[in-house]
């Protein structure tokens, strides 16, 4: 697949961040990008349409990014999605919990456009999606 064919879902409760991440992904050549404001909205979108990758923040109400990750990995149809956490959460305990839950990669805020691009492309390559 080419980046333009990859379906990506951005999940963040801050619109400013959603817009910024979307711009970064578009500049990488990704065209099929949708957004959700929290884990519940994201899960509903993931179940109704086909996606390849989720880029999610951590703390959101009513469902956090970590809870979303766990739901995705438990779901037979969604478990193979690439899942990248893009967050300011940097406490050791929390990060380890996310990695154990099956995270593909972790981008810590503040991130540069180049760093976010690199992380996402690496994740998709590892998953043999591109």
């Amino acid at each position: 697949m080419t980046p333009s064919e990859i379906q990506i879902l951005i999940v963040d409760d801050v619109q400013t961040v959603r817009v910024q991440v979307k711009e970064i992904l578009k500049s990488c050549g990704f065209e099929k990008i949708q957004v959700a404001g929290n884990g519940v909205e994201a899960l509903s979108t993931l179940k109704s349409e086909k996606f390849h990758c989720v880029v999610s923040d951590w703390y959101m109400e009513p469902m956090s990014g970590l809870e979303l990750l766990k739901k995705v990995r438990e779901d037979a149809e969604l478990k193979n999605l690439a899942f990248v956490m893009l967050t300011a959460e940097c406490t050791k305990e929390k990060v380890i919990e996310a990695i154990k839950a099956g995270l593909d990669d972790y981008v810590m805020k503040p991130f540069s456009k180049e760093h976010a691009q690199l992380k996402l492309m690496n994740t998709l390559l590892k998953r043999k999606m591109i």
Partner: protein, 157 residues
């Protein structure tokens, strides 16, 4: 000098923040009304500060990020406090942090002043008195952890 694009993003962020700041303020008022019964509300405040910190870091507003980050950690300590006096101390510090964050967001052009530095020192001292911030992890350490965790098994296959 800030670019026009950055200015627009900042304005959008400030607009969005009003909702987050209002939630944080309501939370503090609720805790004040019954400190020991409502101390679990500190987690809501902490998450709002987390959001402000992350977005401020991303938009290159380090002073806001620093104060919000200290507020985030003090709120975590507040939720675990065992005495009324400790909860009160946390609430007092968090009012100072929230008020300053709101002021800095409304006046992003204002340079750091002595008053803000004093506040940061005071918040750091409060946090230290409660045992300090949680242990953090660097991007390099995360990378190592991700490498040691077999990514092929991530999906649970």
């Amino acid at each position: 000098m800030m670019s026009r694009d950055h200015d627009i993003k900042l304005q959008e962020f400030i607009g969005e923040l009003s909702g987050f700041a209002q939630t944080a303020e309501d939370t503090l008022k609720k805790i004040e009304s019954d400190m020991m019964s409502n101390k679990s509300e500190f987690s809501v405040f902490s998450e709002r500060m987390f959001t402000i910190r992350g977005t401020a870091q991303q938009l290159g507003l380090p002073k806001i990020a620093e104060i919000a980050g200290l507020g985030e950690e003090i709120a975590i300590k507040g939720s675990a406090a065992e005495k009324n006096s400790q909860v009160r101390k946390c609430v007092g510090s968090l009012w100072d942090a929230l008020t300053t964050v709101k002021y800095l967001l409304m006046n992003p052009e204002v340079e750091t002043n002595e008053e803000q530095d004093i506040l940061v020192n005071r918040l750091q001292a409060t946090l230290k008195a409660f045992g300090g911030a949680r242990e953090t992890i660097s991007p390099d350490e995360i990378e190592k952890l991700l490498c040691s965790d077999n990514s092929g098994e991530n999906s649970g296959e």
